[in-house]
């Protein structure tokens, strides 16, 4: 079984508690069901023994449910109290915004205290509690990483929170768990749990501006990106936020309508878990996102020649 996204393969303490609840309910429910069916079979025998109704009504109808439900309530209350506190105190905070149909993820750079924006991948240090401060910018979404924690809704105009902790390094797939429109099914993301040192290195790289376009092909791709006005929705830090035609490197407005592409080449997938990320899928996506994810807000780009489009895809792949 694929354990990339599975409630049956918990990789964090909270998911393990939920996993245990599920099995107790499944197995307990099955045992009680079989017991009732056995009683039914006994009752349907041609020559049933006479019974004493009072014993069955009070015993099986009142005493048994009271005992079982009380035990379950006590046990589940005790176990639920062991779930991680949903609090940002003492935990690294990551902001996640649900959008139709992708995830904006923001970190605070410990070095510069500036915001680092990325998309569709939540990197976390392994073995540490991380608090996701979540909201949505359009409709209600819900963030769910089955291997790590329960679901939590993301509601426009409100901030909700979810504590995540991965106990072993790995890649855990998550997806939107609240129907949010046409492409709800293609709104996935990955949580990537890394040892602390690797996480710090990753964050430091993400804080850097985009890699320079140092070959003719890459320059052609970058120029095509700007000529197509992709910066109307996408930001590439170091490219779309400076205006080279002005003498000074003046900071211009950046857009957050679409995912930040400063380090898109470092991501595993594009279009929120729709395609693996390489120049081929990037080219296909740029040419016609509507064929791949119908209804997505990105328009097709039908007026580029093949070479220019390849250059653009190669440039984006280069932005590691």
């Amino acid at each position: 079984m694929n354990d990339l996204q599975s409630v049956l393969h918990p990789a964090g303490a909270d998911a393990a508690i939920i996993h245990q609840f599920s099995w107790v309910l499944f197995v307990g429910g099955t045992v009680i069901f079989l017991f009732v069916m056995a009683l039914l079979a006994l009752a349907m025998r041609a020559r049933a023994r006479p019974i004493r109704p009072a014993i069955w009504i009070f015993g099986a109808g009142i005493v048994f449910p009271v005992v079982v439900l009380t035990a379950l309530l006590t046990w589940s209350t005790w176990r639920s109290a062991q779930l991680a506190p949903q609090s940002s105190h003492g935990a690294m905070t990551i902001s996640v915004t649900g959008k139709m149909w992708w995830w904006e993820v923001r970190y605070r750079d410990p070095a510069s205290n500036r915001e680092i924006i990325t998309a569709n991948e939540i990197h976390i240090p392994v073995g540490e509690s991380v608090y996701l401060g979540m909201t949505a910018s359009d409709v209600i979404h819900s963030l769910w990483v089955p291997a790590l924690a329960g679901k939590r809704d993301m509601i426009p105009g409100r901030v909700t929170g979810l504590t995540l902790r991965a106990d072993k390094p790995g890649v855990y797939r998550g997806q939107c768990a609240e129907y949010c429109g046409e492409q709800h099914a293609r709104m996935a993301f990955h949580v990537i749990a890394l040892p602390r040192a690797e996480f710090d290195a990753w964050l430091a790289r993400q804080a850097q501006p985009a890699l320079p376009a140092d070959t003719t092909l890459l320059q052609r791709g970058r120029d095509a990106f700007l000529a197509q006005q992709c910066q109307a929705c996408h930001t590439i830090r170091g490219v779309t936020d400076v205006a080279p035609h002005l003498d000074e490197n003046r900071i211009v407005d950046t857009s957050r309508l679409g995912p930040d592409l400063t380090h898109i080449g470092s991501r595993r997938e594009i279009a929120a878990g729709t395609l693996r990320n390489h120049r081929g899928t990037l080219a296909g996506w740029i040419a016609d996102p509507q064929a791949i994810k119908p209804g997505v807000f990105m328009p097709p780009t039908p007026d580029l020649d093949g070479e220019t489009l390849r250059a653009m895809a190669t440039y984006l792949e280069h932005l590691k």
Partner: protein, 131 residues
């Protein structure tokens, strides 16, 4: 007399007919389509096509994915006369094209994805099953 009436055939005939059907069916099932590409395995090619996500741009029957339309449909790739509209659809050309499309057809949108020659052979073998 009802024309639909007929005598049930003798059980031996029926068993024989069933056996014949079974033999024919298994012969069809196990008959290996000889690959048109030397050293190419169509089934591995199909999986590679899926792995490289060619369906981001192409409609490909039997390949899971998105069925993009930036590139042409590959539904009949196996019996088209030309690759990319201009290169004779021969196995060697197909293998070269899959490895490095712009080198074979300058100006094409299709990028070189780092497909190895062996992988390209499998993928080409799969392409020739699409008819």
């Amino acid at each position: 007399m009802n024309i639909c009436q007929y005598d049930r055939p003798h059980p031996a005939w029926r068993a024989g007919a069933l056996l014949l059907c079974a033999v024919l069916a298994s012969a069809c099932g196990s008959q290996k389509n000889p690959s048109r590409v030397e050293g190419g395995d169509p089934e591995r090619g199909r999986l590679l096509t899926q792995q490289y996500q060619c369906a981001a741009c192409h409609f490909i029957p039997e390949v899971q994915g998105t069925n993009g339309d930036a590139g042409p449909s590959l539904k009949y790739m196996g019996r088209l006369s030309y690759i990319a509209g201009s290169i004779p659809n021969q196995p060697d050309n197909m293998v070269r094209f899959l490895q490095n499309p712009p080198a074979v057809k300058p100006g094409t949108l299709m990028p070189a994805l780092g497909v190895s020659e062996q992988e390209a052979r499998h993928m080409a073998a799969f392409m020739y099953t699409l008819k």
